[in-house]
């Protein structure tokens, strides 16, 4: 007798992995970061797109001016880390749900982890090493506080 091959039967005798199980913390992280991100993202969108001159205000000087302010440095750092990890953790659960073989799962998870790490490092680097007054730039393109230098 042939039965249709069972693609989804549980592994024989549920082997309970020992050690720390991150799933609970992953789940809690998604809820907690989600709440904070609502404030961070809408604050970011409001300041960049609505307040003052609105979207027309965005140019090099606007961004440079923001990144010279410690408040926005902290805000953008939080936004970068919370949002990126939130997103990559979501992709991780999708990969866990949809991949069919352990090998593809492994490859995709490593790819996501690598991309996340690279983006986090690059983003953080930009936020903290950003030079708002590059040498030799035209005065009308850089923030106003560059004049005195």
């Amino acid at each position: 007798m042939t039965t249709i091959e069972a693609p989804r039967s549980p592994k024989p005798a549920r082997t309970r992995r020992r050690g720390i199980n991150g799933e609970k913390w992953g789940w809690i992280y998604m809820r907690a970061s989600g709440l904070v991100l609502v404030i961070l993202i809408f604050g970011h969108l409001f300041v960049n797109l609505v307040s003052g001159k609105g979207v027309n205000a965005i140019d090099f000087a606007f961004v440079a001016g923001k990144l010279a302010d410690p408040f926005w440095v902290v805000w953008d750092t939080l936004l970068l880390w919370l949002a990126l990890i939130h997103g990559s953790n979501g992709i991780r659960t999708l990969i866990n749900d949809y991949t069919r073989t352990p090998l593809t799962r492994r490859i995709l998870l490593i790819a996501v982890a690598t991309a996340t790490a690279v983006l986090l490092i690059l983003g953080t680097l930009v936020i903290y090493t950003f030079d708002p007054c590059p040498a030799g730039a035209a005065a009308n393109l850089v923030p106003s506080f560059c004049q005195g230098r």
Partner: protein, 253 residues
């Protein structure tokens, strides 16, 4: 005193209205078929008939080889969960007249469990998950005076909803996470864990919470609500899972 008599004769219609329903069943015979296929049947049915009656009519009058499970036929045993017009329901609780009978009615086996024949699936993986959560009262303290363990109505009401489960697998086999690789415990197992975790007489909550804190435990629930919609007993399955999540986070029931 007089004996109650019928004053006027009840009106009996000359003919009970009937209709022809087209039932399309997903057939599979492991001895003959490589793949499942759809087969049409036309049956004359009445307004009071259920999907199960239609299946009976097919099996008894048209094709005796049609295989499906059913035991009590009254929505209690949980044997005849199947996918009717794309939704998991009990064939014995679904009236034909509630479906759109102007169109064919599609009936197939529940998804996510190995198909054995026609509408019959291998329920072993489902019951393995159920067994894994220790579905029995765990208590290390002897009962008072050797008598029954008393419980207040409030304590009983805490887990009343999840006592209704009949283990028909309609919820678990409607869960998209269960479909993916079948490793997830599934809503039914979590519902039955909930039934004991929140039972004031039970002392095994910690054991069950540890089991469900597994990689394949409650955290794989994506709150799709498919299970709550599928449950023929109206159990708020997603809510029960959320309560178990809360209990795992707090570390106690």
């Amino acid at each position: 005193m007089s004996t109650a008599t019928l004053d006027s004769k009840p009106t009996v219609p000359d003919e009970i209205p009937s209709f022809t329903a087209t039932i399309i069943v997903r057939r599979f015979d492991p001895d003959k078929d490589a793949e499942p296929y759809w087969q049409d049947f036309d049956v004359v049915m009445y307004g009071t008939d259920r999907v199960l009656d239609a299946l009976h009519k097919i099996k008894w009058e048209q094709d005796g080889s049609l295989s499906f499970r059913r035991s009590c036929a009254h929505g209690v045993c949980g044997s005849d969960a199947m996918r009717i017009n794309g939704r998991n329901r009990l064939a014995c609780k679904t009236l034909l007249k509630d479906l759109d009978i102007s169109k064919p009615i599609y009936i197939e086996a529940i998804k996510g469990l190995p198909l054995e024949k026609d509408l019959i699936v291998d329920m072993d993986p489902f019951f393995e998950s159920y067994k894994a959560i220790n579905p029995f009262l765990i208590s290390n303290t002897p009962s008072k005076d050797g008598k029954e363990r008393k419980q207040s109505p409030v304590e009983r009401a805490r887990f009343d909803d999840t006592t209704k489960c009949i283990l028909c697998a309609a919820c678990t086999s409607s869960c998209p996470v269960f479909w993916t690789d079948g490793q997830y415990f599934g809503p039914a197992a979590i519902v039955n864990a909930h039934r004991f975790i929140f039972d004031s007489r039970d002392e095994g909550a910690q054991v069950r919470l540890d089991i469900l804190n597994d990689k394949e435990g409650v955290w794989r629930c994506r709150t799709t609500f498919n299970c709550s919609e599928a449950c023929p007993r109206g159990i708020q399955v997603t809510q029960a899972i959320a309560e178990v999540k809360q209990a795992v986070m707090r570390g106690r029931a």
